[in-house]
Symmetry: C2
Subunit: 173 residues, 2 copies
């Protein structure tokens, strides 16, 4: 039975989404994009805009399941900016994640969370790669003639692919 997987790469300035249709373990591309909230806007307004646009997407596309990149603060952020920066980034990630969780809960959808390393290795096999490389891999995996646009949304598609792989492994057991 075909299943729609919405992958999300949460952020409070750029909030990426990518939708796949999975049929017998094969994923095909439906749509992808980035919800943008201007940095100049107050955080409450930004979250509200992202939440509203995300609800509209869910209403339009009716995914069956949501996969979210698990909040994660790279250690280098902590060491570069010190404790304060790290805590501030973690709060922002928590805020963006909350928007995704609330919208999914509004539609009664299950949410699966995957750490970034898992997402990257799902598409590149070795857990590394630039945004462009990830985009190229995502394009290849989905059999697209060129990498999906915009490149900022490919991380979200990678999250959806990661969930598809996870499900495929589970059914093989």
């Amino acid at each position: 039975m075909a299943q729609r997987i919405l992958g999300i790469d949460p952020g409070t300035i750029q909030f990426g989404y990518g939708l796949l249709e999975a049929d017998r373990g094969e994923g095909s591309y439906l749509t992808a994009g980035v919800i943008k909230a201007p940095r100049s806007m107050e955080i409450g307004g930004r979250l509200h805009r992202i939440h509203t646009e995300l609800l509209a997407l869910l209403e339009t596309w009716r995914p069956d399941v949501v996969a979210v990149e698990e909040p994660f603060i790279p250690p280098e952020v902590a060491s570069r900016g010190g404790h304060r920066t790290s805590v501030r980034s973690a709060m922002a990630v928590g805020q963006a994640q909350a928007v995704a969780l609330l919208a999914a809960a509004h539609y009664g959808l299950d949410v699966h969370r995957y750490p970034p390393s898992r997402v990257k290795s799902a598409v590149s096999g070795y857990g590394q790669g630039s945004k462009q490389q990830v985009a190229a891999m995502v394009g290849l995996l989905l059999g697209l003639s060129k990498p999906p646009e915009p490149v900022d949304a490919t991380d979200a598609l990678a999250v959806a692919i990661c969930h598809l792989q996870h499900e495929r492994l589970n059914t093989m057991v």
Copy 2:
């Protein structure tokens, strides 16, 4: 002109709220409480429950303004639990704060944020004090015959008092 101030002490397990009516710089107690989300519930379900109950509160009480305790991770958490605990706490605070910001934005309400030290000093004058002391001070400031119940909600009332003080100082200038 009388104004209703909703104070919020955000959390993903206990989410405190306290409502005051302010008239000519004097605050009077309307209601206070804690929205509880069971620890056993998935984070998405908890945030959804808090969001739903908070929207119902806003619908019932129609505050004019919202004051939220600013996310803050005490340094001792970081040094006790290390970087990992600190980041995890910061994400949880961000999630709970996002719920408050989204609900306020839904009603087009302004949100003011205050750091915990500011909130404590608004009620105790020297920025210290146990939960019981804060409760007793809040009761005295609002002219209640006994401290407001439950004690867990008094922090949220203290946030509302903090905003009232802030406004009072602004009008004096």
